[in-house]
Symmetry: C2
Subunit: 181 residues, 2 copies
């Protein structure tokens, strides 16, 4: 970081939530903007398949980008209470996020679909809030996923709700490669 | 396009609207996803300054991306009726969009902040609707900007409203380089 940059820097806690498209996609747009500025960026995914071929391929062009997909299978969301192994996996994934955030080595850390893990009861909200409260001042964090926890919203600087107004599934159109994945 | 791809392809008309952040940023995320899939992408901007250093720098890494920033000064939005030269400029910019869309040479065409130009009365909505009605089937189009016209929403397949829930300006925090621009 240049001194000029540091002086003005105020690391934001950003939440992209809501039932519409664009939560992860807007995070992805922010990642590319940050990469273009020379920022060091880490992305950690809580839901398998949230990152697809398109963005992974594009991301490979950048040396300053670290992607940590869930490498251990992934959480199966069912009707009943969360299974202990899924909770353990979610907590392990948050520990990865916390390590990246608290290391102060990244300019931006994206915790993709963490709101989902919280709303399914896989992760205690206090664990997330504790890390955010200890976040180095200059580090930006993005938390995506629907049903963001009210305490996470309270801790955030920038919160956007993506609302679905119209969806192609309503017309029977399948998800489109290169656009939706 | 491969035959496999063409067979499943249904070009979407996508609208990102609302008063919140993430309209252009989500379009940017979709652009990078599409570029990563090898799609040919064009972006045309209606509002000067909508594209900043970060994304321009990142975009340079891709051969399959064409950015057409407004090169002719740009529309000054005031209180009164739109000036004739601003309308002419907006119409000229839409003509660029139409050329890219109708050429069938691009997989994705982003018309950034066109909704803004429409809502300010700089561009007749019929001009936009006419192009969209003649869009080649396989071409995806994204139209961004607040206050999307109801006829544009009616013509779209996927519409998302980005709603501002909380904004850092409310805390007196300035826009952050690498994140917001």
């Amino acid at each position: 970081m240049s001194e000029e940059g540091s002086a003005k820097r105020h690391g934001l806690i950003i939440v992209n939530t809501g039932n519409g498209k664009g939560k992860t996609t807007a995070a992805l747009g922010t990642v590319f903007r940050a990469l273009g500025q020379g920022f060091k960026v880490a992305m950690i995914q809580f839901i398998k398949g949230g990152w697809r071929y398109g963005e992974l391929n594009a991301a490979e062009k950048f040396d300053n980008f670290l992607l940590e997909p869930m490498g251990h299978g992934f959480i199966k969301l069912g009707d009943g209470d969360p299974a202990p192994e899924d909770c353990a996996l979610a907590e392990k994934t948050w520990a990865q996020c916390a390590e990246k955030i608290l290391s102060d080595e990244y300019d931006l850390v994206v915790c993709d679909e963490v709101n989902y893990a919280l709303s399914y009861g896989l992760l205690p909200v206090e664990m997330v809030l504790d890390t955010l409260s200890r976040k180095p001042h200059r580090v930006h964090v993005i938390l995506t996923g629907r049903d963001a926890h009210e305490k996470v919203i309270a801790a955030a600087d920038l919160v956007t709700e993506m609302r679905e107004i119209k969806h192609p599934y309503q017309k029977g159109i399948k998800a489109q490669r290169g656009i939706e994945f």
